[in-house]
Structure formats: C-alpha cells, structure tokens
Amino acid sequence: MNWISNYVRPKINSIFSRRETPDNLWSKCDSCGTMLFHRELKDAQNVCPNCDHHMHISPRERFKHLFDGGLFTEVEVPKPIVDPLHFRDQKKYPDRVKIAQKSTGEEDAMLVATGEIQRTPFVLAGQNFKFMGGSMGMFVGNAIVAAANEAIARKCPLVIFTAAGGARMQEGILSLMQMPRTTVAVDMVKEAGLPFIVVLTHPTTGGVTASFAMLGDVHLAEPNALIGFAGARVIEQTIRESLPEGFQRAEYLLDHGMIDRVVARKDIREELVTICRMLMRQSPAIKGDLAACEDDATAETTATGTDSDKGADGDSGKDKKG
C-alpha cells in the first residue's frame, strides 16, 4: 500500500476540504482495534492486515473479489409471497424487511451469481448477515433452488457462502420448511454429478447449519468463524458449565471432523478452482493471467477476454461489475 496516497493525501485533503470528507474513511478492526483505512480494508476483503481478523463482507463485495475481473451475472430469484403469516412482533415484519433493504441495498439475505473464476464457470450464492442476520426464509430458499437450477443448467459447481443466525422466525413454519427444501435443491446438484461446496463464514448457526450448510461435498470455513447448531449461551444454561475456548469456532470444528479445511479469505478463490477442477476432472487452471478486480478500469478490460466459455451469456439477469 502506498503510504502517501493512502494516508498522507487523504489527511491533507481533509484539512483543506473538511466538509467534503466522509467520516467513514477509517474503521476500527473489531478484534485488535487497529485503525484501518477504508480502501486498504476493501482491498484486503475486509480482513484486518494487522491481526488477520476476518470481518463481515457482503456477498456483492465478496463476488467482486472472487470472479474474474469482478464481473458476474446476477441470477434472478423468484419473489416469494411477502409476509405470509402477517407476522407482527414489536415491529411489522414487512417494516423490518424494508429497513434491511434500505440499509443493505439488497432485496433479501442472499445473492446468487454466475461467472468465471480463473476461467472456470461457477454459480455462487452468498448469504448476507447484515440482512436480518442472514436469516433463511422463503427468499433464501428460493435463492438456493434458483442457484441449484442454474448450476445444473450450466453444468458447473455450486458454492454457497453461509452466514446466518438461523431460520427467519417471522416466516414461522415456512422458514423451517426451507431446511428440507434447500436439502432437495442441493441434492439435485449432487445427483447431476456436480460439486457442491460450502464455505462457512462467521457466523453460521441454527437451521442453516442443520441443512444445506452441512451437506457439502467439501466444507471450507473462514478462520475463527462461529459455526454451530445451538447458541453458546443456550448450551451453557443447559449444561450449567462454561464452554472451552474456541468452542464452535472453525478450527474447533476442523479438530472435531466437521469441516475439511480452514481457508483464509484471500485464498478461497484458488481453493475453489483447484478443488472443483479436480472434482470435475478438468485440467489444472492456468494461473496468473486473470486476477480478481483491482480497480474498475482494469476490471473491464480483463473481463472482455473471459466470455469465450460456453453458456456464459444469454442470461436474463443484469451484468454487475466491480
């Protein structure tokens, strides 16, 4: 990172034009407290350069880093019926959804996209923890079914990045029914002979863990991600003893045989390609010619070269680029 451009220049700018400077240029690492410049943090995919703490990243941001040139096509998710139960707690459920839509700029808690990673076609689905805790309701169920169908149609691997507190209570039993429903969806992918890879990110708990998230051909997890069925507080209240350090963390699950690998965010791209190309009995990927997006200008030029593979276009969805 260029110290002058990243640190000194903004500082000088801020002195001269204080009004124009947004105050969110710096953020603090949740774990070590280091002040981090926003661009530096963005380039590092929201991983603290100081302590390697993996912070929240939205699916859209993640996909920009994963797909070649940051280019991907969003897969349209069929809209479910809104608020089937007319659920109301302290707020009306549709109001909660609207607030989440406004703050995230997304329709619901999952984004599905197709594109290429190192010229290997993939369907990626990512859960957005910032959208009502990533909770799985009918939209997320529809998204996974759509992602599965897309992977089958394109004959490419399906990768789901999980992040959720569990099922969306406001949809009651219909959210619970997404457990079997998503199970059917991922089994269709497996039966089509295609890899289904799960990348567990912080946090993944409850009904999401107890369905599609634990049914992958390969389970990867980001470092220190919290992964479990029941919450630690509930367990402590039940068994009336405190839990060991690192309980329900990715490394703990690795030790207990529940996941295959703990992989740093920056390495996930390579891992996915390596694993899926082997599972699909394809030749090794040619490395080094295509990077994830760095900045917008290069992203566009790199991306034009990637459309050669079959079935990459002609989709109804709109192109998104980084």
């Binding site: 209570m169 009651g172 429903r181 634990m214 045989g257």
Partner: protein, 320 residues
C-alpha cells in the same frame, strides 16, 4: 385427572367440588348428593368442551407438552405388533431419546422411528426429555437405510422440544446429523409417513418429518422456534410467549392452511391426555389410511412426489 393445566383451573375447581360432594356422601349414607354432583359433572363437561374448542395457540402448546399425553412408546405398544427395537448409531452410542425398530402394523412390516420423552422422572432423564443428540439422528438414518433396502414403509412419530443443545452434541456434529437425517427422509424410495403427536420442535422435528404425508394431532404444534425463545428474541421478553405463539402460526389448524400438514387427526374432548386409548385408535386409523394411499406408488413416484411437495411449499394454501 392428576395434572391440570393452568388454564384448566376453573375446571379443576368444579371437578374437585363434585368429588368432595361424593366423598361426603360416602361417609354419610343419608345424604343424597348425586343430583347435585351430576349437575357439577355436566357443568365441568361443558366447560371442558368449551375450553378445548377455543384453545389459543399458547394453550395448545401447553396441551401439546402435557406430561400425560400418550408418547411414542405408548403408540408403538398399542398399534404395532412384534415390535423389535433396534439400537445404536454404529459410531458412538445409542440415544434413548429416539426409539425405533422393526414392527408390524396391521400385518404390514414397517420401520418405526420416534422421539420418546419419558413418563416419569427416571425415564425422562433416561430419555433426555425427548431431546435427541447426534447419535439419535444417526440411528434414525441407519433405520431409514434399512427400510429403504428392504422396501419397508417408514413411520415416524415426532414429539420433541428440539434437538439437545449440549457441548458433546455440538462436538459430534448435531447440525450435520440433523441435516443428514432430513436428507435421508427426502431420499428414501419407500413410503414415509410422519405424525406429530405432541411437540414438533424446530430442526429436531424436521429431521424426521420430510415425509410423503404429514399428519398432526388436533392439539399438536410444529414450529421453527418455541414461543418462549421467539418472545425472548423478538420481544426481548420471554414472558410474551402468548403473543409469540399467536404470531408463529404453529397450530395444526394453521399448518394445514399453510400446506405444511396434510391432515389433522382428531383428539378426544379435553385433549389426548384425557383419553389416550381413543387418541391412539384415531392415530392408528389415520396411519392405515395414509399407508394404504401410498401403497400403489412406485419408488420413483414416492421420491419425486415427496421432493416436489417440499419444493412447492410456500406457493399454495397461503390464505391464512
């Protein structure tokens, strides 16, 4: 009736009075109280009918959890012949919260699997109050595989607060076990029929309920979270469980409207706990009906119809 629920207190008073009167009459043979006692009986019967006709969702939860309701073990004993329990997950342990095995139902060999809560302190502890650990779900997977291999229909009896939230359960992969059990339900090529006989608690219930046909007892509940849990998260007050129960739409009647439950099995007036035999008989009749309806289906049809049923959930019957 030894165990009255909170909302049954007025009923308990009337029944208590009738009982007192009769006890008095027994001591003093000159007293004729029968007429008065009968009037009280009638009053109690009317009140009982009224209470159970108008059960709120939260009261239904209480009825569904009633300790005197017939449990899995009672159904197996009364409805099946030659029940041969099979044990263990072949990996770690045998989970007593889940019972299962081979049995005959009206001569038809089947595999039965269910949650067992226990009926007294000792058996409740032994059964872990019907809260299964990963071993329970893995035992169920084994039994479903067995049924699939030999073409036997599977009957599951669901009655659990939820999967057990414990350290060991987490370490041995509670979520993976539930996910695999759900997956197994959805992939067997034999008829799979589920009956929610009491509480259908979240993932712990789903693991057994990926069925061709799902029936619920009239006062059973099936929910993504307990009303208490939901209240403490969304209302920040566990005391708001009445409101949460209402909002969650967890009763058999609501679930039938939502297209999740295929049918409702009637309970005797005053709930299953007041007449277990009649309840069990109703369940037996419904079971026979459901299995017969699935008899003629090919393995492929059973599998595809079951999957389609779950893919379609949320697209119909949302009038509620």
């Amino acid at each position: 009736m030894a165990n009255y629920l909170e909302f049954e207190k007025p009923l308990a008073e009337i029944e208590g009075k009738a009982e007192e009167l009769r006890a008095l009459a027994r001591q003093n043979s000159e007293m004729d109280v029968e007429k008065e006692a009968e009037a009280l009986d009638q009053k109690a019967a009317d009140l009982l009918a009224e209470l159970y006709r108008t059960l709120t969702p939260w009261r239904k939860c209480q009825v569904a959890r009633h300790p005197d309701r017939p449990h899995c073990k009672d159904y197996i004993k009364a409805l099946f012949q030659e029940f041969t329990p099979l044990s263990g997950d072949r990996n770690f342990a045998d989970d007593h919260a889940v019972m299962g095995g081979l049995a005959r139902f009206n001569d038809r060999p089947i595999v039965v699997i269910g949650h067992e809560k226990g009926h007294d302190t000792k058996s409740r502890i032994e059964r872990n109050f019907g809260m299964a650990r990963p071993e329970g779900y893995r035992k169920a997977i084994r039994l479903m595989d067995l049924a699939d291999r030999f073409g036997l229909p599977i009957v599951t009896l669901v009655d659990t607060t939820g999967a057990y939230p414990g350290r060991g359960a987490e370490e041995r992969g509670q979520s993976e076990a539930i996910a695999r059990s759900t997956e197994k339900c959805l992939n067997v090529k034999v008829p799979l029929v589920s009956i929610i006989i009491g509480e259908g608690g979240s993932g712990g219930a789903v693991a057994f309920a990926g069925a061709n046909r799902l029936a619920m007892l009239e006062h059973a509940v099936y929910s993504v979270i307990s009303p208490e849990g939901c209240a403490s998260i969304l209302w920040k007050d566990a005391g708001k469980m009445r409101e949460a129960a209402e909002a969650l739409k967890l009763t058999a009647q609501d679930l039938e409207k939502l297209g999740v439950a295929d049918q409702i099995i009637p309970e005797p007036v005053g709930g299953a706990q007041r007449d277990p035999d009649a309840t069990i008989a109703n369940v037996g009749a419904a079971l026979e009906e459901m299995l017969t309806a699935l008899d003629k289906k090919t393995p492929k049809e059973l599998l595809q119809e079951r999957r389609q049923k779950f893919l379609d959930i949320g697209t119909k019957g949302l009038a509620a």
